[in-house]
């Protein structure tokens, strides 16, 4: 346990961001992620960084846009209703190809909803969230250790691909404490950013951060280019975990806290001799399509365990070309599925057997 400390998931994100070289944080209070802002408020002034409580989520994401334009690593964090407000800025960040790191510690919705954990912003985050054709890299940690590691990764990916990366967590992982080894985090230095608007020094043509393009053929080309970049990301950056999949005939797909509940259920099911495993997407976008596709013919049933009314299940069906049976095992509105509920779904699927 050499350098392990117990930390809340939210705090782990904040500290990992600082380790990743982020010196600018802008946010607006909202449960259940406020620990991130509180941590930054405490730390940033002591390390020459900026913590600023913005007047709104909208202002916060635009402050992020401003810092991102200057090439510095920058972040904001919020929870579901606040992310809706930020969606305008997320679209502009995408249109201007600016790197930014955003955290969504989800709570139940829609509307003001509740404050208990949820995964119902899956569509919103994996499809972009704001207007226009774009994606964000969406990272789904399932432990406090991953909250830290994926934060560092998030900053690196944002810089490498000049786009927003988002941590899609939920209230449980944000609030829980687990051991984390921050000393073990390795950070790649940020790349050169010749596009940054930091002043020309009267030595070069001016840089412009911009998402306006009034000539449709040009705007179309920008979209084509951006989607070529997305293809590279789909090829290179997919992350997932497989658990007991070697001989699995039933495949659970779950991310975040739902994946941990699912593991408990899988362990129980295995004791009963049921061949069930888990594919846990770590990147929700890009979605681990290929590994799921490879299970076609081996698995007869896919159980999507979600804390929503069933959103990821669409990607599961698409990835497997609708060639299996599909079961949604879910809770919503801030409720978390229990291992017993998942086990029951597994046993039911096992009774059905292969087609």
């Amino acid at each position: 346990m050499a350098n392990k400390v117990l930390m809340k998931g939210n705090e782990a994100i904040a500290e990992a961001a600082i380790i990743a070289g982020c010196r600018h944080y802008f946010g607006y209070p909202i449960t259940p992620q406020t620990e991130i802002a509180a941590y930054m408020a405490k730390k940033m002034p002591k390390i020459g960084g900026t913590f600023l409580q913005a007047e709104s989520e909208i202002a916060a994401i635009n402050m992020v846009y401003g810092v991102a334009s200057t090439g510095h690593r920058v972040m904001t964090s919020s929870s579901s209703p606040g992310i809706s407000l930020k969606s305008e800025g997320l679209s502009y960040l995408a249109g201007a190809d600016m790197p930014a790191f955003v955290v969504n510690v989800q709570r139940g919705g829609p509307g003001l909803g509740g404050i208990q954990p949820s995964q119902a912003d899956y569509f919103q985050s994996t499809r972009g969230g704001g207007h226009g054709d774009y994606h964000m890299i969406v990272l789904a940690p399932a432990s406090v250790e991953e909250m830290a590691a994926l934060t560092v990764k998030g900053f690196e990916l944002a810089d490498e691909y000049r786009m927003t990366s988002m941590i899609l967590a939920d209230g449980t992982i944000g609030q829980m404490m687990e051991p984390v080894d921050l000393d073990g985090l390795k950070v790649n230095p940020a790349p050169e950013k010749p596009w940054a608007t930091v002043g020309t020094d009267c030595k070069r043509f001016h840089n412009i951060t911009n998402s306006l393009s009034l000539v449709p053929t040009e705007l179309e080309q920008q979209n084509f280019d951006r989607y070529k970049k997305y293809d590279v990301i789909k090829e290179k950056e997919v992350m997932y975990e497989e658990y007991m999949m070697d001989d699995a005939e039933i495949c659970i797909v779950a991310f975040g806290i739902a994946s941990r509940v699912s593991k408990n259920a899988i362990n129980e099911a295995r004791k009963k001799g049921i061949k069930v495993g888990l594919i846990r997407p770590i990147t929700l976008w890009p979605f681990p399509e290929k590994v799921l596709h490879d299970t076609v013919g081996k698995c007869h049933t896919y159980i999507s365990v979600e804390m929503s009314m069933g959103q990821m299940i669409e990607d599961v069906k698409l990835s497997t070309e609708c060639r299996g049976k599909y079961v949604l095992c879910n809770r919503a509105g801030g409720m978390i599925p229990s291992p017993e509920q998942v086990l029951a779904a597994i046993e039911e699927a096992n009774k059905g057997g292969a087609k």
Binding site: M1, T31, V261, K263
Partner: protein, 177 residues
Amino acid sequence: MSTNNYLFAGFGGQGILFAGKLLAYKGLIDEKQVSWLPSYGPEMRGGTASCSVIVSDTPVGSPIVSNPDTLIVMNLPSLDRYEDAVVPGGTIFMDSTLIERPVKRDDVTVYAVPATRLASENGIPTLANMILMGKVLSVMGEYPSDSVEAALGKVISARHADKLDINRRALQLGAEY
């Protein structure tokens, strides 16, 4: 290979989350896998507070404890709410100053400690939680132990180092009860 699931519950302000942290840190120091999950939100402000703690030899799956092996309760609503959730053969530790009724189940072991009364009699009225924890740890056969001492040092920040001694005394009181 074992996994121990603890559920702590009581009023906000009784130090429920703090007690849970002590156990989680002790687990970490003992090189176990641990998780600590609090209830959060408005109910923390004077309402019910609870936290799930898991200490395990294997990676922790779900951090949510719905059926604890060990229930540590410090008020009646919490006993009412969680008594039936304890696994058969499990253990309930309760503050008998604030919980006047006996535990109804006969398939669990019960330790009733008048922690709030002991705390106030000993001039440490805010440390009933640690008195109850003293009992928990001694029943576990873990009191006194180096890892408890080290965990105390972790949960009590350097800024409050002057509070270490009264916390030790509270643990001692509970352990000896």
